[in-house]
């Protein structure tokens, strides 16, 4: 039976692992390759790296880090942040990423999704959707959640899947950072609207939140701080989720 995945997300800047404190100061937290290798050994089903830096120098440092990760990380690695065309997607895949994630670029130019899928296959293309509640629905945001686009998030999810996205990474802007659980209604709405796998993101505070997210129909749950601050080692969290009857790789 296909297992539900638990995915730690790491913020990477200039090839280094960083953690934000209230979006203001970023702390250098070491080598993202070391962290990814540790998480993989602890039972992570997949790793996501989010490149939060702009600029060529950071991009090159990111590629070098992806190359090193491909040598040691023996679970899939998805890398996103700053991919605006097929050229950057190709660079990441050749460096050793298994999937690339795009967010803002396809909101400005949806055809990018089809270009990436045709070139590299749908299984490589993750479309990240940052959604915030508005008027009883959800609105898709661009630029790391800062720019509302006027697009309905569920309609955008459907369009992204039709264009060839192999997976959707759905983050609730309202829940992100609250540690009070995922936006389950958003997840249900999107899981119902599309047939591609959905990764839940934003709001995990405890294992029960991950269980609830996976029960909406989501194929995977992503979290950051609950893993990074050491509150829940991944293997322990997965055991708790499995104890609730969900198919989990132990």
């Amino acid at each position: 039976m296909l297992r539900k995945r638990v995915i730690p997300c790491l913020d990477v800047r200039g090839g280094r692992l960083v953690k934000g404190i209230n979006f203001e100061s970023l702390r250098d937290c070491g080598d993202p390759v070391d962290a990814a290798t540790r998480y993989a050994a602890d039972g992570a089903d997949e790793i996501v790296w989010l490149n939060i830096a702009a600029g060529e120098e950071s991009w090159t440092a990111l590629l070098r880090a992806v190359e090193r990760a491909a040598e040691t990380v023996d679970v899939p690695l998805c890398v996103g942040g700053g991919v605006s065309g097929t050229a950057q997607g190709r660079e990441l895949l050749l460096a050793g990423a298994d999937k690339i994630s795009v967010n803002t670029a396809p909101l400005d130019r949806p055809a990018l999704i089809a270009e990436l899928a045709d070139r590299f296959g749908s299984q490589c293309v993750v479309v990240a959707i940052d959604a915030a509640r508005r008027n009883g629905g959800w609105q898709a945001h661009a630029s790391g959640g800062r720019r509302p686009t006027g697009r309905d998030a569920v309609a955008w999810a459907r369009e992204a899947a039709e264009l060839g996205a192999g997976e959707l990474l759905v983050t609730s802007i309202d829940s992100d950072g609250t540690h009070r659980g995922y936006d389950l209604q958003l997840l249900r709405a999107i899981c119902k609207a599309v047939r591609v796998p959905v990764i839940a993101s934003g709001g995990a505070g405890q294992p029960a939140d991950i269980t609830a997210a996976l029960e909406t129909g989501a194929s995977a749950a992503l979290a950051a701080s609950i893993f990074h601050d050491g509150t829940y080692p991944i293997h322990e969290l997965k055991r708790e989720v499995a104890a609730c009857g969900l198919p989990i790789r132990i």
């Binding site: 296909l2 993989a40 089903d45 491909a70 040598e71 679970v75 070139r119 299984q123 796998p197 194929s219």
Partner: protein, 183 residues
């Protein structure tokens, strides 16, 4: 390891190197013809992959070779005949076709799933939207998608194929590669 311009070869290469194998990545038919063992990787779509193999003459090299050959993911699908993905003919080294798994609840079939067959039970990482449809005699292990069985490992003489990504399947994947190298 056959390089025909497909994407990520680095992690597959590293997985073999961690097991002590010496890996040469090459798209040169002369180098491929002289290899002790061959790995046909595959990321991307069937039609461009077959076009790339044919343009380098690698389809003939692989057909004529007597070395053990393992296809990985798309590389496994390319060992067979017709593929519905891009409506293209594969290498035709094994009898069978490749069809869409559009009957599954969610496509692609993405994530960790059981591999049950002639080896020890394993849980491996899959990422595919098409699957091989072939005679049971070729199927060494299966996985189950929404209650339907699809080939996860195929084997016939020197040829074998894995639908999952052993290089991304943690220790279970490592053991699969180990067994292939030892066989």
């Amino acid at each position: 390891m056959i390089d025909y311009g497909a994407g990520n070869l680095r992690s597959l290469r590293a997985a073999f190197e961690r097991l002590g194998a010496t890996v040469q990545v090459s798209g040169d038919p002369a180098v491929v013809a002289g290899a002790e063992r061959l790995v046909l990787p595959g990321v991307g779509a069937a039609a461009p992959a077959m076009a790339a193999l044919r343009s380098r003459g690698l389809d003939r090299t692989l057909g004529a070779s007597t070395a053990p050959l393992m296809g990985v993911c798309l590389g496994m699908q390319l060992l067979f005949g017709h593929s519905d993905e891009g409506n293209v003919d594969g290498l035709g080294l094994l009898a069978g076709n490749v069809t869409a798994i559009d009957w599954a609840e969610r496509v692609p079939h993405m994530g960790w799933n059981d591999v049950v067959g002639d080896g020890p039970p394993a849980v491996c990482y899959f990422a595919h939207s098409f699957a091989v449809d072939c005679d049971d005699l070729l199927v060494a292990a299966r996985t189950s998608i929404d209650g339907r069985q699809v080939p996860a490992v195929v084997r016939s003489g020197r040829l074998s194929g894995v639908q999952f990504h052993p290089e991304k399947s943690a220790s279970d994947g490592r053991r699969m590669l180990e067994r292939w190298l030892a066989a």
